[in-house]
């Protein structure tokens, strides 16, 4: 296999290094001595998948701390796919060049709704039936996990099981359960795993619809399957596994550096944010543990940069201490620290300046909306004043380009909010000209808002494609010097919205779209909207049903059976507050707001550094 690849296949494709593995710190475990063999599949190209922290954790965890084995596989780029199909080469793992069909389990990491066609394409390249119901005894079990799995229904037919929530504990339990029941039949083994908290076996449920298309009922077919599937989470990050020796890719990947996960979850409760609910509550790592991890990773990888990752790193209680310590320890050797996301305030800029002593990073801020009213609607607790102070601090300390992130199509958005975006940009530019000696460059990225499951906006209609296009025209009706606007594709966002709040009937559409050649739908150059619409028509399905209508609070939603720990009543209350443009405080500062998760999961907000009062409660 390897010889054929090296001689006949790889010389014919772009970036062959994507397909050869053998990187520093890659783990090749003994096949026959390992219990369950799992392929960890990422439905996108190597350089994107290799940047994903969750996959790094699971890879190291299973290989280093369990009797099972994990090997990696990514989506081949279309040129590689073509050569593989021509030459009859099956999709293989990077560690041992083993065809995927020889694994016991293939686990897909589901980070983005539209990567589902890549999942199907990979299964097809591996010679494995796409539909779970067509798989037989000898086929691997196909499982999935990740944020997208929190509304698993649109993909339910393709997976034998989905793992809901954080995978660290659950995946090991799942694999061991399969090993313990290895003598049993396929369905029986699956049924056994369904008893584990967090495992969803789609074939164990029956779904009925009302004549108008809404969900009527969803019930387990037997008591072996739980009525509610509860997400899993890790209680204490300090004791959770984190790789000390991550793989160091040869080719440049998206985040080519050592990564520390300083905390998980975010308590800011922005109402549009999916991650905010599914990763609740906040759990931090202590500075001491992070310093050790930084040291171990730098020693084992030789990276020249270390990034502090989380949903909102500047909210980490130990952030100043950690940043200063890392800069002091490694700065002299040319090793830089990077902060992937900055909070919109002057403190952030101050800290970013310390980081920049070593390495220049781009200043990006996310006000999300152009007016205070709309920011209150989405509960983005940022004021104009915060923003202007941050920008002023940035420009006067030497930055001369700023990138601002906004969303278009937020609930209740009016023309005044669009004007607000432009006014805000103009003001930022003016501040820049006043405080910077050089020409300032302002860039704004405008994403289309997609309502997501498990958020306060899960009942809201999404803006239509024509509404979004009209807004785009409105914003770009005249050019403003040194201010660049870029927009996300509204058609991509529409489809993303369909998947994000879709139900089981979408499986046939996805299958159809894949048959028509859809893949790499997250890549503009491959995304083909018309083909997708054809697939909907041929399946007699209306995509608009999923995105453009206002849902009632009492409607049974396809993802209601997934228990994130956050009460539905809390979400609807937040939605009502949004309607009135009333904000909700951060429960870390304001005290518990009874979203439900902490008492229910027997966990607490885990703030590690210097805020003992917050942890006491």
């Amino acid at each position: 296999m390897k010889d054929k690849l090296f001689r006949d296949i790889l010389p014919r494709v772009t970036k062959p290094i994507r397909y050869v593995g053998a990187e520093l710190n890659a783990i090749r475990k003994n096949w026959s001595q390992s219990q369950v063999k799992m392929a960890l599949a990422f439905p996108d190209v190597y350089e994107i998948g290799m940047a994903h922290i969750g996959s790094k954790i699971l890879y190291g965890l299973v290989n280093e701390e369990s009797p099972h084995l994990v090997e990696r596989v990514f989506t081949p780029w279309p040129d590689m796919e073509q050569v593989m199909r021509e030459e009859g080469v099956q999709l293989y793992s990077l560690e041992s060049f083993t065809p995927l069909e020889r694994f016991d389990v293939i686990g897909f990491s589901l980070q983005y709704e539209l990567s589902i066609t890549n999942v199907l394409n990979m299964l097809d390249l591996a010679g494995i039936p796409l539909l779970a119901s067509h798989r037989r005894e000898g086929h691997p079990l196909i499982i999935g996990g990740g944020p997208v799995a929190f509304n698993p229904e649109p993909f339910a037919d393709f997976f034998d099981a989905l793992l809901i929530g954080e995978g660290e504990e659950l995946l090991l339990e799942f694999l061991s359960c399969l090993h313990d029941n290895r003598e049993r039949g396929r369905q029986e083994r699956l049924t056994r795993t369904a008893a584990l908290e967090g495992v969803y076996v789609p074939s164990g449920y029956r779904v009925d619809y009302k004549p108008d298309g809404r969900l009527a009922d969803m019930k387990p077919v037997s008591t072996a399957y739980p009525a509610m599937v509860r997400k899993r989470l890790v209680a204490d990050l300090d004791t959770a596994y984190y790789p000390a020796q991550p793989i160091v890719p040869y080719m440049e990947i998206v985040h080519d550096r050592a990564v520390l996960e300083v905390m998980r979850g975010c308590q800011r409760a922005c109402r549009f944010c999916h991650a905010g609910t599914v990763y609740r509550p906040v759990r931090e790592r202590s500075v001491a543990v992070l310093k050790e991890q930084a040291d171990a990773q730098l020693k084992s990888t030789g990276y020249d940069e270390i990034s502090l990752a989380s949903l909102s790193t500047l909210d980490y209680s130990g952030v100043s201490e950690l940043v200063r310590d890392l800069v002091r320890t490694y700065g002299e050797r040319g090793i830089g620290v990077s902060l992937p996301s900055l909070r919109v305030d002057a403190f952030s800029i101050e800290l970013a300046n310390e980081v920049r002593k070593v390495r220049k990073t781009t200043l990006t801020l996310a006000p999300e909306a152009g007016t205070q009213r709309l920011r209150d609607v989405i509960n983005k607790n940022v004021t104009d004043e915060d923003l202007f102070k941050a920008v002023e601090a940035a420009f006067s300390s030497g930055w001369n380009s700023v990138k601002l992130y906004f969303m278009l199509g937020l609930p209740t958005e009016t023309e005044a909010d669009l004007d607000g975006v432009l006014a805000l940009l103009a003001r930022v530019k003016a501040i820049g000209q006043q405080h910077s000696r050089r020409l300032v460059e302002i860039r704004a990225s405008l994403a289309c808002f997609v309502p997501k499951a498990h958020t306060p906006f899960q009942w809201s209609p999404q803006n239509t494609i024509s509404q979004l296009e009209e807004k785009r025209r409105y914003l770009t009706r005249r050019k403003i010097k040194n201010i660049k606007l870029s927009f996300h594709n509204s058609r991509t966002s529409m489809l993303e919205g369909v998947m994000a709040r879709g139900d089981r009937r979408l499986n046939q559409v996805i299958l159809r779209a894949w048959q028509k050649g859809c893949k790499f739908d997250g890549w503009t150059e491959h995304f083909n909207y018309d083909r997708w619409m054809e697939a909907f028509r041929e399946c007699d399905m209306d995509p608009e049903f999923y995105v453009y209508r206002q849902r009632d609070y009492d409607e049974l939603l396809p993802w209601d059976f997934i228990d994130t720990g956050v009460y539905k009543a809390y979400l609807s209350q937040e939605d009502q507050l949004a309607d009135a443009a009333l904000t909700t405080a951060d429960c870390r500062q304001a005290g518990c707001l009874d979203c439900g998760i902490c008492p229910d999961f027997g966990v607490s907000l885990d703030v590690k550094e210097g805020k003992a009062d917050a942890t006491a409660g």
Binding site: F6, R7, L10, P11, P16, I17, V20, A22, E23, L24, V248, Y250, M251, E252, D256, L298, K299, S300, T301, G302, Y303, D304, R333, G334, I335, R356, V358, R359, K360
Partner: protein, 224 residues
């Protein structure tokens, strides 16, 4: 001090691009705790210069880089590097350079490419002789200077075949860098154009680099 290192890249790493190889070396230098020198400025980088660029798809037995560092024992340098480099990439030798020594790119002017073929030397020999009898070999230039033709012939110093028992190895000594650079893919096309078909070529690599002075081939490691 300035140091010149000779290293080998095994067949498994043949698909690394030049930038990838540079990162491999830089990361190894950090892991090995080598006292490398950094450039000035906001974005400091290790003062390493990759003197030879291995084309994607081929492996190399004798590649070179130059590095600036604080004083360090050469043996220790090699031992530490080889402990942390990925298996298959190895520092073979190194020496310290005078500060005024010319950069590798400016002194290396010849390289040897090797092609293992699944045919007998007797079959290959006449094909090579035919190439060597040509007075000129005009090919369209690749890379930067497109639309210009170039003559490979003056840069083709030697072309011979070696018996290896189960097959043969063709060795081509060619001119590289200035004034005439014969690329690996040009050499490959030349051979295939003269009847050594692609499917009979089992493997290829770069055997080494030289500083050619007249008929003498000198090692870049030993020649300042």
């Amino acid at each position: 001090m300035r140091l010149r290192a000779e290293y080998a890249v095994g067949p498994d790493h043949r698909f690394l691009a030049n930038l990838d190889m540079m990162h491999v070396m830089e990361r190894a230098l950090r892991r090995a705790d080598v006292p490398y020198r950094l450039s000035e400025g906001f974005n400091p980088h290790i003062r390493i210069s990759m003197g030879t660029v291995l084309p994607v798809g081929i492996w190399g037995k004798q590649e070179f880089f130059d590095l600036e560092l604080a004083a360090m024992d050469l043996d220790t340098f090699m031992k530490r590097m080889n402990r942390v480099l990925p298996p298959g990439i190895e520092v073979k030798a190194c020496r310290s350079l005078g500060t005024g020594a010319p950069a590798l790119m400016n002194s290396i002017n010849a390289a040897e490419y090797a092609f293992r073929v699944g045919r007998s030397p007797a079959e290959v020999e006449p094909l090579l002789a035919e190439i060597m009898r040509l007075e000129e070999i005009i090919v369209p230039s690749r890379g930067k200077k497109k639309d210009v033709n170039k003559d490979l012939r003056p840069g083709l110093f030697a072309l011979k075949v070696e018996d290896q028992g189960d097959g043969a190895v063709i060795r081509a000594l060619v001119s590289v860098n200035e004034p005439l650079n014969i690329r690996f893919d040009e050499m490959l096309d030349l051979l295939t154009g003269f009847g050594i078909s692609r499917d009979t070529i089992l493997d290829f690599w770069r055997e080494g680099h030289f500083i050619k002075r007249g008929e003498r081939l000198l090692s870049p490691l030993l020649t300042p």
